[in-house]
Symmetry: C2
Subunit: 206 residues, 2 copies
DNA sequence: CACTTTTACTGAACAACGTTCATTTGTCAA
DNA sequence: TTGACAAATGAACGTTGTTCAGTAAAAGTG
């Protein structure tokens, strides 16, 4: 029964070619330029053929979002090897910023554009490997709290605030043409230090 | 020559009706649902008529962005009466968050959607009253620095970091359906305190 | 090999979009 | 009443995502 297998293989191949073409368009021209006819041209098939592999444009975009989030995880994963929690938090933050800088269109796709966070709405938390990114950061904060380095806030809340602040920097960089920094690595680290410093001296305020 | 004036008045009126209809659509259904035909239906004119008042859809959207930013300034303005710089910074941050909460679609329009920051790219800084918002915050930080409350960072940089962090919170709230906070007022104030605490104890890190 | 069934694929079409333009309608001056 | 000018529009064009009847090729069957 090698025939059925070959067909499945070819089908899977074409599906991957569609995704590759779509990703190329998104990365080079942005999500709004992702049109079914452009994909069709790129893979040298009729537009209708795409609908034999994906239900609609949304499904293609959502798969790209999934892949994009996996890429972000890839940036952050090496930080897991760092023993010191605070140093690990800094490494995660650095990786997050680096991802935004080196793959701006991917960052846009998963966090700013039409399908931003779309995965989180539909699926169950437990079933989302994507959520590993947040748990990773929150878990590291928990270690810092357990070690007594940080206090006055839950690990989840601290992770949310740091994530939000970094997200703010990257989005401003990507959206605002007049954002003053050529390189957001420095303000990114400053922000991380600022938040950590605040968490360590939180008794100073209220 | 009352006739010419009446005509101008009617023309201006229709222009305002177009903008009002457009704003209503954006606020209730979001920017993607803003179509020329919907506006035409709302004002009971043909779609072509809109082009006698605006060059294209972009120009309408950009005017809404301008108006939206003016609304944000309106939220922040009362803080100017607060004498203490740090308290003023907190009031500005609070107002910023409040704007994001109470006018989410307007916030989306001016900071997240297609025309986000579009005004900043085209026009000159000096000619932008919109930039008053940032100068307001940066000037307040400068006062805090002059008073010795904050050190180790320029006022502009501090303003950028605080703004970015607040923007991060609001955008996560608006974009991510699973964002854990029903009310972002608390995390917004926490973020502000965190950044300020960090700025006041910056010597603790590097 | 011939015939049938299944699969892969596509051209043409639909509705909705932004936009344009020739044409019509309405209003004022002479 | 007529001529000029402004205001308004119906119909069209080229996009977009999407659907579907129909074709052509491949696989299964006698």
């Amino acid at each position: 029964m090698g025939i059925a297998e070959r067909r499945e293989r070819q089908k899977a191949e074409l599906r991957e070619r569609i995704l590759a073409a779509a990703k190329h368009i998104v990365v080079t021209e942005g999500l709004p330029e992702l049109t079914m006819r452009k994909i069709a041209d790129a893979i040298e098939y009729s537009p209708a053929t795409i609908y034999l592999h994906f239900q609609n444009r949304d499904e293609i975009a959502l798969q790209l979002v999934r892949d994009g989030f996996a890429a972000l995880i890839g940036y952050m994963a090496p930080a897991a090897a760092i023993p010191d929690p605070l140093a690990r938090v800094r490494a995660i933050a650095k990786a997050y910023i680096a991802f935004g800088v080196r793959e701006p269109e991917t960052y846009r796709l998963i966090f700013l554009d039409t399908y931003a966070w779309a995965l989180w709405e539909s699926t169950d938390e437990a079933k989302e490997p994507e959520n590993g990114a947040f748990s990773f950061l929150a878990g590291t904060f928990q270690e810092a709290i357990d070690a007594g380095s940080i206090h006055g806030m839950t690990a989840d809340r601290a992770a949310e605030l740091l994530w939000a602040s970094l997200h703010g920097i990257v989005s401003l960089k990507l959206s605002c043409a007049k954002y003053p920094f050529d390189d957001i690595a420095l303000p990114g680290e400053q922000m991380c230090d600022l938040v950590l410093a605040g968490l360590m001296h939180r008794h100073a305020i209220a």
